[in-house]
Symmetry: none
Subunit: 121 residues, 4 copies
Amino acid sequence: MAWKFTAGRPIYLQLMEEIALRVVTGVYEPGDKLPPVRELAAEAEVNPNTMQRALAELEATGMVNAQRTSGRYVTEDQGLLEQYRRNLAEGYIREALQKLKPLGYSLEEVMDMLRKVQEEF
Amino acid sequence: MAWKFTAGRPIYLQLMEEIALRVVTGVYEPGDKLPPVRELAAEAEVNPNTMQRALAELEATGMVNAQRTSGRYVTEDQGLLEQYRRNLAEGYIREALQKLKPLGYSLEEVMDMLRKVQEEF
Amino acid sequence: MAWKFTAGRPIYLQLMEEIALRVVTGVYEPGDKLPPVRELAAEAEVNPNTMQRALAELEATGMVNAQRTSGRYVTEDQGLLEQYRRNLAEGYIREALQKLKPLGYSLEEVMDMLRKVQEEF
Amino acid sequence: MAWKFTAGRPIYLQLMEEIALRVVTGVYEPGDKLPPVRELAAEAEVNPNTMQRALAELEATGMVNAQRTSGRYVTEDQGLLEQYRRNLAEGYIREALQKLKPLGYSLEEVMDMLRKVQEEF
DNA sequence: GTGGTCTAGACCACC
DNA sequence: GTGGTCTAGACCACA
């Protein structure tokens, strides 16, 4: 399973992030029907209510919308998805910069290292 | 306290990393005498034996060395320190790139975002 | 269907009100013959006896009258209809004022809001 | 008890509205501490989780904010409260106008009736 | 079968 | 004692 939780942070938030990540990385594409709550819950081995909450909060962000009787669908608003994708990326970068900061490297040096490390990928 | 442990990884390793970070960021400077084991152990709220092991392992890396009976000193080998500092930095960058990868941004885009986010600091 | 009942109040009363509303809003005009009881009952998905009672009570108010054996007719007494229409309207207004009261707006403020909201219609 | 629920609409929404009404009408004043979740739940005779949800959603509107260990407090943002109060009032007026509409009165007539009915209060 | 709501009861972190 | 989270299991409306 791709579902692994870190202690100390609400599971429903982690579920949200994982699903958002799937949406943003194209695992679930715009307009796609998401698996039913109970199925996702079983897959993640959490209580359906917890998954329900995660999806409800995701819905509040506009990334998915529920069609009452037929299921949940990924938004087709590509702009919103792009927005979220960018926020994620900048968040990762911010996180790295925070750890990098006390090491005292200049922006130029960081960019050089980035170019070097990037070659591993 | 600056000591915060994440479950699942040996504490002595985390202690090692924290002390190495202090060395590399200049909290403890080359040639400085480190605080006594018992003091560090107390500060980290850890068994002195655990701290002892952390320091012993650190010694094996060459970053600190026990001189006579008088205590432990930070190495004055700047090259070794620089090496460690660089490894740390590249590790942080590698970590970020790994998370960034599934988002599908190009190196150029990542560098642009890096420049933008860097302005917050 | 336009027939929707709220629990807790006698259905025949709700039927009365709905029919009276139709009379007063001109769905059934003065002098018109009302549909037969069975037809109205079917439309409202209600036991004919219940509809029968509703119409009997309506008759007591004078808004409809049973002429000979041929059915029920809407009264031609415009004054009575006007009276009922006005009572309804004032009831709606009274209801709104009751909810408005604890909010503490002055009559002037309420009238301003009324003018503003009215523009939506 | 002032808590009375109408079937067919989620209880947590009705709880939200009731509490918001209390805030907006000054039962709970800006800066006041709200009663604890469990107490409100007991008073309303609902499950604490349901009340919890109502308060959480209220919090999302900014009308109250939770101070983790010490309780929930009514916002001191008077503008936001005023905004909400006005929305409520306009909602009541809109509701009345919708019912009034089929009766065919002019704005002037409605205002006359409003003045008349207002004298009862 | 789908999402949504509600209850009951447990546990946690924080102060 | 406070808010918050999680589980388990039931029920509902809708199509």
